[in-house]
């Protein structure tokens, strides 16, 4: 089942529909439709291997919708969906952000997000959900942190979000021969999650 959300601090008529797919077979088709700017395929298609938690794509949507509604900021990409992919990036390079965080023709897993204004007359929840689950050909899995972390590519995440300084003090102390408590797996994931969210949040300040 796709996840439906509306976010705090945003007008309640904006709703997110999110679905995560594995064993995807039509990524090349989806990718070509995005390049052709086909409005039928206006979704945020995200490569889940760069995700470390379910908050990360939702936070990108949050940024995208806020920029959309803020007359002083506005979107820097064609629509709110491409802006969502761009918002995952810690840098201002739009082309790079599509390439790194969006899907590629060979993607085997896809996170699809549709952002809609429910106050529009054309909005229909059942149609949207039906279309969302059929547009990607693959196996739908739950959109939660546990399933996302099975797909995470840590090397890519660390490279794209420039996390080489992560845990710097502990490494420094270890080098000096001190005993440093090993972090539990859960703590390490949590550190990674907040580091990624922080890198996304600070993009506008770079």
């Amino acid at each position: 089942m796709p996840t439906t959300l509306s976010l705090p601090h945003l007008p309640s008529n904006y709703r997110l529909h999110i679905a995560l797919f594995t064993s995807v077979t039509n990524a090349a088709h989806l990718h070509s439709q995005l390049l052709a700017k086909n409005p039928e395929y206006e979704y945020a298609f995200i490569d889940p291997s760069i995700l470390v938690s379910h908050l990360q794509p939702i936070s990108a949507c949050f940024r995208a919708i806020r920029d959309l509604l803020d007359p002083d900021v506005g979107l820097r990409t064609p629509n709110v969906h491409s802006e969502t992919v761009f918002s995952l990036s810690p840098t201002h390079n739009i082309t790079d952000s599509y390439r790194r965080f969006g899907i590629s023709p060979s993607s085997a897993a896809v996170l699809a997000i549709k952002i809609l204004d429910t106050s529009l007359a054309s909005y229909s929840e059942s149609n949207t959900l039906e279309r969302l689950t059929s547009i990607v050909e693959g196996t739908e899995v739950d959109f939660d942190t546990k399933d996302i972390r099975k797909l995470t590519d840590l090397i890519k995440v660390k490279k794209y979000y420039k996390l080489k300084d992560m845990g710097y003090v502990d490494q420094l102390y270890k080098k000096k021969g001190r005993n440093i408590e090993e972090k539990s797996e859960e703590e390490a994931w949590r550190d990674l999650e907040v580091a990624v969210l922080g890198a996304m949040a600070l993009r506008s300040l770079v």
Partner: protein, 256 residues
């Protein structure tokens, strides 16, 4: 920039910022929103630049600290034009509240004073360690007071089934202070610097704050310094500098 109403409960209102409690993205993610409202008496352009600058520098410091491994609230979202930072919610009492309760508690005839002392010593040790770490990554807090140090229960300590709240919980006999982390908050006056002078002044500010609020503080602050000395890599030079700062006060340049 037009002010926007914040969806959350107002917790504190200072000269510089308003602080709200709210949620980020999902109802189960509590967060703190720090807003620097516009000051109508300031020239609009200057006001915007100051607000933006302070907001940006605070967010950068928080992020740098957290990702390098010093505990502080994580940054979730920044809207520098409106002066808003959405950050992680830290549950727990401030060291200031905790110390007050401890000292009140110790004067109770029913409580064993030794027990409280042992715990306070452990806490001071922890504070010294945290400040040492902060200085080792060349960050100056700028406003080290006991209110800007929080105590957070360690999530995976596994001893408590339900989260305990408030400083009273920390005083109960079966809670060891070792299960608590010291978290630094409010980097509004912080900066990145590797100078011994700045680090010494940071310690001096904490010393003044300590001595003026807590009667038994001299001994406690000595434990902090001792722990800082053992844990911070560059502590020797900083502590020597601290002696000088004590003699002449915080301002070196005597300008302004």
């Amino acid at each position: 920039m037009p002010p926007r109403p914040i969806d959350g409960t107002l917790l504190k209102q200072g000269a510089e910022a308003h602080v709200y409690r709210s949620t980020f993205l999902l109802p189960n993610v509590p967060c703190l929103i720090k807003v620097r409202p516009t000051k109508p008496y300031r020239h609009a352009t200057l006001d915007m630049r100051l607000t933006k600058h302070r907001c940006v520098s605070e967010a950068r410091l928080l992020n740098r600290c957290r990702s390098m491994g010093v505990l502080c609230p994580a940054v979730y979202f920044v809207d520098e034009k409106r002066g808003e930072i959405i950050m992680e919610w830290i549950e727990g009492p401030s060291v200031r509240d905790f110390l007050h309760d401890c000292i009140d508690g110790a004067s109770d005839p029913g409580k064993e004073e030794d027990n409280v002392d042992v715990r306070l010593d452990a806490l001071m040790e922890n504070i010294g360690q945290t400040i040492g770490k902060l200085h080792d990554i060349d960050i100056i807090h700028g406003d080290l007071t006991t209110s800007n140090l929080m105590l957070k229960h360690r999530e995976n300590s596994g001893t408590t089934s339900e989260p305990q709240q408030g400083s009273q919980a920390l005083l109960t006999a079966d809670t060891s202070l070792l299960d608590f982390d010291v978290v630094l908050i409010d980097f509004g006056l912080g900066q990145v610097s590797n100078s011994d002078e700045d680090k010494a002044v940071d310690l001096y500010v904490l010393e003044r704050a300590f001595l003026s609020t807590h009667p038994r503080a001299t001994r406690l602050f000595d434990i902090i310094l001792d722990s800082y000395k053992r844990n911070c890599l560059g502590s020797a030079v900083v502590l020597r500098r601290l002696q000088e700062v004590r003699l002449r006060g915080r301002k070196k340049s005597m300008v302004g």
